[in-house]
């Protein structure tokens, strides 16, 4: 598909770009049990998630939004992880998990992009107060 990234292309690894260009679980759910959206006013990134919950398990999930490759790929990766797992397990996902999944060095300027989807999960699905994830 695309030219192999050069050695210094750490930030934009193939799978990050793949999740950006071909996002998994993208779109909206009809009548979701939970729906929440957050934005990052500094750069205009937006991520929203719709959840369907069955017997305490995330039965289905979709995300929507727009923004940079990091925020959108991070959202795509997170939905893959969330789909089919119990809410209690989802609750334990933290910023290290999300950053580990991205697998790249994130500069301080871009960390808010990477963690925006986690904020959607926490604030939306669990009603936790928005906390600074930095």
């Amino acid at each position: 598909m695309s030219t192999p990234p050069s050695a210094d292309d750490q930030f934009y690894r193939e799978y990050i770009l793949d999740h950006y260009k071909n996002p998994r679980n993208y779109g909206r759910l009809d009548h979701p049990d939970i729906s929440h959206e957050e934005d990052n006013p500094l750069c205009g990134d937006v991520v929203g998630m719709d959840f369907r919950i069955k017997d305490g398990v995330i039965d289905d999930i979709r995300f929507h939004g727009r923004g940079c490759a990091i925020s959108q790929a991070s959202a795509s990766l997170l939905t893959e992880r969330l789909k089919g797992i119990p809410l209690d397990d989802a609750k334990r996902i933290n910023k290290d998990d999300v950053l580990g999944e991205l697998g790249i060095e994130i500069s301080p300027a871009r960390i808010k992009c990477a963690l925006l989807p986690l904020k959607v999960l926490k604030v939306g699905a669990y009603g936790l107060a928005a906390e600074d994830e930095e």
């Binding site: 695309s2 030219t3 990234p5 210094d8 292309d9 930030f11 934009y12 770009l17 260009k21 006013p41 500094l42 750069c43 205009g44 990134d45 937006v46 727009r66 923004g67 940079c68 490759a69 990091i70 500069s107 871009r110 992009c113």
Partner: protein
């Protein structure tokens, strides 16, 4: 002949190959500016207007010398009309507070523009809420230029205040300030011009312009952060109450009440940014040495070149007017690549590029984009830096294709 390579040698930050294309955000500072500040710290560091020893006299002289340099730089009638602030934001807030609270009445109209920076919107929104006034915004046309027909219609409603930018920080649009100020004055309005992107880049003559207030920042014109200017017409400043109150802005303080200091010190409470003001004076000297007409011509040449270079790139959308009516700012978007991703890739090539809403969210909403990438130029910008930007753009397109 303008020798940009010689200019660059005065800026140590370029010694290691940095391409800096974010001068509309903050400019770099030449040795002459940092040297003047260092001289203060090392040779006559002391507080001004107070002490009766010689280094304090030296500090006071240098601090006040900047005021005369600024007066001449914008051709104000008197140094009494030159107020030091921390920057454009504080200057506009000063007017919104000291002039606005006393003069804007319930039902009054404030006219702003959709092109404006948040610092020329939010202080007026706070004032409008506090005093019960209304705000209307002049829209832009498809080229990013203010709709003058709509501006004239709004003036017919006899606004109390009209405030707009000299040059748009986000699009680079040079507004027809002379015509707009004249029309607004004829309609009876008080007029503030946000010159944050104006004064650093072209010759400004506030008396010729005819505005009541003109605000600008030192850090966008080779000076340090923390020192900016409010120019105000003397009659208006005389009639205004102080903004911040405290030491140095008073004549006598008694428990029954206080008499304020004369202009301009009435508006300069507390210990001032002495080193920064001295640095700003050195920045003005530096710009005077280059000649503002040369500065403008150089920026125009680089901007024309950048406009042409970027226009040739497929999948790139340029925002704003043609180069002839644009200052050294180019805002653009790439198909399928978010500005932040471009900025990250450019950063790896040592190209500093701004990505975001440029503190102009109403404008971004109007343009229908969440953010843009922005390159901006100044006295030291090389065409080679523009070529390096084009290289980073092509690299981003390769990565994202």
């Amino acid at each position: 002949m303008y020798d940009v390579k010689a200019v660059r040698r005065d800026f140590p930050i370029f010694d290691n190959g940095l391409a800096y294309l974010d001068s509309a955000n903050t400019s770099q500072r030449p040795r002459q500016v940092t040297g003047a500040m260092m001289e203060y710290f090392e040779k006559f560091n002391s507080n001004i207007h107070r002490a009766a020893y010689h280094i304090a006299e030296e500090a006071t002289d240098r601090y006040e010398a900047t005021r005369e340099k600024i007066r001449a730089f914008i051709n104000a009638a008197s140094t009494k009309e030159i107020i030091y602030t921390r920057g454009t934001t504080e200057a506009i807030n000063l007017v919104a507070y000291s002039w606005g609270r006393a003069n804007v009445k319930p039902g009054d109209l404030i006219v702003l523009t959709i092109l404006d920076h948040h610092s020329n919107i939010v202080p007026w929104q706070i004032l409008a809420t506090a005093n019960g006034a209304n705000i209307e915004y002049v829209d832009i046309d498809d080229r990013g230029e203010l709709r003058q027909d709509q501006f004239r219609e709004l003036l017919e409603k006899q606004p109390k205040l009209v405030s707009f930018s000299h040059v748009s920080n986000a699009l680079g649009t040079i507004n027809p300030v002379h015509e707009m100020v004249a029309a607004a004055k004829a309609a009876g309005a008080t007029v503030l011009v946000d010159g944050a992107q104006g004064a650093p880049h072209q010759r400004v003559d506030v008396r010729d312009l005819g505005c009541d207030f003109y605000a600008f920042s030192g850090h966008k014109m080779l000076g340090p952060t923390g020192a900016g200017i409010l120019y105000g017409r003397r009659e208006l400043l005389e009639a205004m109450d102080p903004f911040l109150a405290g030491g140095d802005m008073i004549k006598t303080v008694r428990v029954e009440g206080t008499t304020y200091h004369d202009l301009p010190w009435k508006f300069e409470a507390g210990t001032q940014a002495i080193a920064e003001v001295i640095g700003l004076g050195a920045a003005v000297d530096y710009l005077d040495g280059l000649g503002m007409d040369n500065v403008l011509a150089h920026e125009r040449e680089v901007t024309d070149y950048a406009y042409e270079t970027l226009s040739d790139i497929e999948g790139l959308t340029l925002f704003g007017p043609p180069p002839s009516r644009r200052a050294g700012v180019i805002s653009f978007a790439l198909d399928g690549i978010h500005p932040h991703d471009l900025a990250t890739i450019a950063d790896r090539d040592q190209v500093c590029l701004r990505a975001g809403h440029h503190c102009a969210m109403p404008l971004m909403t109007r343009l229908g984009v969440p953010a843009t990438a922005r390159a901006s130029f100044y006295v030291y910008t090389l065409k080679d830096e523009v070529d390096r930007l084009a290289g980073s753009i092509k690299e981003a397109q390769r990565i994202f294709k």
